[in-house]
Each structure stands twice: as C-alpha cells, then as structure tokens.
Symmetry: C2
Subunit: 339 residues, 2 copies
C-alpha cells in the first residue's frame, strides 16, 4: 500500500492519515511523570527545567541544535561519592596488595610497605612522589586489556569501608536522573574527570549510560607494540595528561572540540570547566553539587582536602550559577536508601 497511489480511495487515505496521527499522539502522555523525582521542588530543580525548556524550544532565539547540546559532568563527588578518599585510591591500595606476591621487595620498600601494613597515612607521607609511585606501580606495565580486566575484577567485588556497599552503588540517584533527562532532551552527556580515563570507562556505560568514547580523564602514555605478531597497547609509567582544574577545558577541547552548554561539578577542580562553559553565547547551565548532608553522605566544602569547594562557591554566588544543597535539594542521595 502506498499513501500516494492514485488508486487509493480518498476516504481510506484520510482514515489512514488520521489514524497514524492519532497513534503518534497517543504515545505522548499529556501529564508526563516528573523526570527528576529525587529532586525536591526548589531553585536548583527549577533552573534545570528552565534551561532545558529554553534550549529545546524550536523557533526560540535560545534554541540549540541537538548536535550542540553538550553536557559535561565531573565524576568524583558529582556523580558518585569521593569520601573518605577518591574511590580510585581504594583501587590503588587493593592492587598493591594483589600485586605484592610478585614484588617481595615491597615488604620493606616505601610507600608499598606501609600500604601492605594497612597504614594509608604513612604510605602517603611521601607526598606526590609516593602517590606517583603507587599509581604507576598499579596502573602501568600492563596492556590496556589487562588493566581493564583488573578494574572490572575489582569493581565487581570491592566495597566501601563506611557503607559496605559496592562503589558503583554509591552513585547519586538525582544525578542519574539528570543524565537521563538531558539525554532524553537530545543532549550528549560526557564525563570529564580528574580520575583515570581507563579506570572510569569499564563501568561508565552500565552505571551512567555514558559510552567509553564520551569519557574524558587523566591518563598515562601508551605505546603500540607487536607481541608475537599480536598488537597490544602497553601502558607506560609516564603521565600523559592531567584532566583537572585548567586541564578540564583543555581535555574538553581535545576530545569534544566544541564548548559545552551545560557543566556539572562539585569542587574547585571543576571551576575552569564551568568558566569555559559559561563563557559561550546563549543560555548556559553551570551547577555545583554542594556536599551539605553529613547524615546521608558527607558534609564538606571550603577546607576539605578531598573535593574542596571554596573559590567555586564564591564564583557560583557571584555569577548566579546553580548550587545544589544536597541536604535540602535531594530527597534521595543513593539508590539503596529506603524511601
């Protein structure tokens, strides 16, 4: 059957068109459910809805083509928790323990000896150099496939010391809703994190719905090699890129090649990403998650060693960016909480 056939009786054609229109209309409910149910009504939630309405309204001067609806999210402290230390640090310490049998020298060599004794504080007493040694010992020297396997194995079993939950359970329900809501409105969502790019990728799709090619992070150098004729990428003990602070706009330009219109962070390490996003023309949504809920999560900001939010808080207030008060703006933090 062809709609344009001359043999088609006019009335049947009309019926077909009407039916098709009606069928299409019936799939759009008049009262759509709230796409952000974990967000309490308030200024933060309102700013999100207003921004999305503006940029998606066809014919409006603020309309943004779907291809240009780029939204960037920090990971640690923005999409999942980051206390009492970055989750990747737990991975580092667990990997040192797992690799120790192959490194008998570590029982006496710092910072490894302290890690093996369970003394994190002593292990990190050596500052950046000690941290660098730990990161390289656990992140380099393998192929990309071997490293991915070590992350997958760890994430499937490791548990957070305070909550006893898997780390992938400690993602914020309101932010998962926000990711899905933006994607449903034609946005492409990216993770832009100071964390390791290859540490985040193995579970970014299953946890956040963000495919690996939309994950930007810090990295070490890799090298292409043929091993017995089989091509591998070997991870080298050398920093390639630090995707933090002023590095975030650099990473965004390198990977995305256009300026985001929405940016979400929680610390001063995200400030330049929000500045870069805010400086483009047209409507912009810049949002900081402010950790104010010591009961359901953690409360920290201006003086915290992890996830300090100080200059960012001032700038958000001065520029009228959205600041989410976790305690009052979110009726649920983690998916496992009782409702």
């Amino acid at each position: 059957m062809e709609l344009t056939s001359n043999k088609q009786p006019r009335s049947a054609l009309l019926a077909c068109l009407l039916a098709a229109l009606a069928c299409a209309a019936s799939s759009t409910p008049v009262h759509a459910a709230d796409p952000l149910p974990s967000w309490n009504e308030g200024a933060a939630k309102k700013s999100i809805f207003q921004f999305v309405a503006k940029v998606t309204k066809k014919g409006s001067p603020d309309f943004v083509l779907p291809a240009e609806r780029i939204a960037v999210f920090d990971n640690d402290g923005t999409l999942w928790a980051e206390q009492p230390m970055y989750f990747q640090a737990f991975f580092v310490f667990d990997r040192v323990k797992a690799l120790a049998p192959q490194h008998p020298e570590w029982t006496t060599e710092e910072p490894f000896a302290s890690v093996l004794k369970g003394d994190v504080k002593a292990a990190l007493a050596g500052g950046e150099r000690a941290l660098g040694q730990l990161v390289m010992a656990t992140h380099a020297g393998t192929t990309t496939e071997e490293f991915e396997k070590s992350v997958n194995d760890w994430i499937a079993t490791a548990k957070h010391p305070k909550t006893g939950r898997r780390f992938t359970e400690m993602v914020y329900s309101p932010m998962l809703e926000l990711l899905a809501y933006l994607r449903a409105n034609g946005f492409k969502t990216f993770i832009v994190s100071g964390g390791g790019i290859e540490f985040m990728r193995p579970c970014s799709e299953s946890v956040y719905g963000v495919p690996p090619e939309q994950v930007i992070g810090s990295s070490i150098k890799t090298k292409f090699e043929l091993r017995d004729g089989k091509p591998v990428l070997v991870r080298l003990p050398e920093i390639n890129f630090v995707d933090d602070g002023p590095g975030k706009p650099v990473g965004i330009q390198m990977h995305i090649g256009r300026r985001p219109i929405a940016a979400f962070g929680n610390s001063d390490g995200d400030l330049q990403m929000l500045q870069w996003t805010a400086a483009g023309p047209g409507p912009r949504l810049c949002l900081f998650v402010h950790h104010t809920d010591a009961e359901r999560e953690w409360a920290y900001d201006r003086t915290s060693g992890i996830g300090r939010l100080d200059r960012g808080l001032d700038e958000a207030q001065a520029r009228g960016w959205t600041v989410v008060d976790m305690k009052t703006d979110w009726n649920r933090v983690f998916g496992y909480e009782k409702q």
Copy 2:
C-alpha cells in the same frame, strides 16, 4: 483519541491499527536502492555488504551491538585526495602568506622566505625542522577560536591547484556513501587522521557527517588562560600528539576507548590501525583504498613520498583484507564528475 479506550469501537480500532501498520510498511520499500551506487559490483563492494549483513543480523553469532559498531576512517587519501601534497600543507603555505605583513623578518628568514617566493621545494629543503617551523608559525600562538576561524576562512575560498575545485569538493563520493551506509546500519563513524585535529574539525560535520567529537588527529598543546576575565584556550608551539602509524591505535584508545570493528585507510600510516582493528574477536572489515587511477585522480603506491602504500599492500594481500582498486571499483571518484 486513545487506542486503548473502551469507548473506541472495535472496527475503528482495527482500522487504526491496520492503517498504522500499512503506513509504517510503506516507508520500507521492498527493493531498496543501492546504498553504494558509486561502487561497481565486485569483491570490494561485496566484502562491505557481507560484513555489514553479518554484524547487524540479530541472533547471529556474529551480531555486534550498535554501541560497539565503531568504524574508523583515515582522512588524507582515504576520504579526500592528498596529492600533490596534503591539503593541510596548502593551508600552511597560504597562512604564511596571509601572516607575512605581521612578520617583516620572514622576507629574509628561511623557510618563510622561500614560501613567500612560492618555492615550496626550497622551503622544505630544511626537512623536518623547517616543516615544524612552518606548522608552528601557522598553527600556534592563537586561541582555539581564532584558529578555527582561520581554517573556516581558508576552506571557504582556497582552491586545489590542479582541479581548480574547493578542497572540500575533492572528497571521494564512494567513501561518503560508505560513511552514510555504515551510519544507517548503526555504526558510529570516526575520523582517525595524521592531519591536525583542529584543522579537520571545522568542516568534518558538513562534509562527512562526522561531528567534531568523533575526529581524532595530531595536535599541539593548548593552555587555559583568563584574558581580562574571559577564558581562552591558547595554542602552544609544542607537539602534543602525532596520530600516525603506531600513534593511530594509541589515539583510538585515548578517544574511543574501545577497539573498532572496521577500519579504512590508504597508506602505511594506517597499517597499525588496521592491525589493531583486525586483532579483535569476531568479524572485522579492514580496507585499503589503492590509488590506481591516474586519469580521474592520481596513481601511486609503493614508492610515493605522500601516502606510500607498501608494507600495507603486502599485509592486505597476506591477510585477505579488502583492497579497493579505485580505477575499477569506483564508477565515480568525485561528486563533480559528469555521469
């Protein structure tokens, strides 16, 4: 009107369903037009169709989820021409001329003096060092936005010395069809080129349908700065990454984070990309475009300075990769040819 309403007479409901089904069916013609009309029937075209049929057939052991249908394309010599020199080199020489009034010293300083005299050969007599000077003088020192504008201005007006056509007209029609055909079958298409990432991005979407975030290339370092409170990314005269040869699998891993299942190139600089693609499990499509048509394009391979295809040709033959003979496999090379 709701399909499920109890008030809906059964016959009207049935009519609606039938009409909707018929309307849906009418949009899928029984005899679909050939998606690759510029390709002659032959082994190359057949290998493409067979591969796509395999990986898209649900329930087949070779089925690949759409999210994993990653296809990577070299640019110079694979998507557009590259003779008598890479198109980006024309940009470099034109930019030197455009910037010369701001650099009076260039009239006597090599390699700039030779470029200004129109003597490309003499300009490049200084080898890599001279080339590096020319690239940095024309690619660094600006903000990312200024550089993008200089590329856009150039590409809108510059013409190829042999064909007199705009460079963006010198893309291969068969490859445009292939890009579109793969995307229509759920593939995500990426450009992975030795050329400059920010040189390609301004027109990758309009010319190839590839958005900037799916362009991978060579790059110089950039730095985030606040200039009078306005954030900018400044392009520095320092190499960041060379996306050529063994750099291609490294760039693919950095940007995409998963192994492609299809790779398209034309020179030995693409060999490692094809090796990396071929080494994954399941069906793979690895294809070299072989420049065999001196009449409609250029004929070159094993001994060419630009786009040499030597080791790659041997490996393609040994491994049974697809080799496109431009002369016999393509009935049209450029879109402007008379049919």
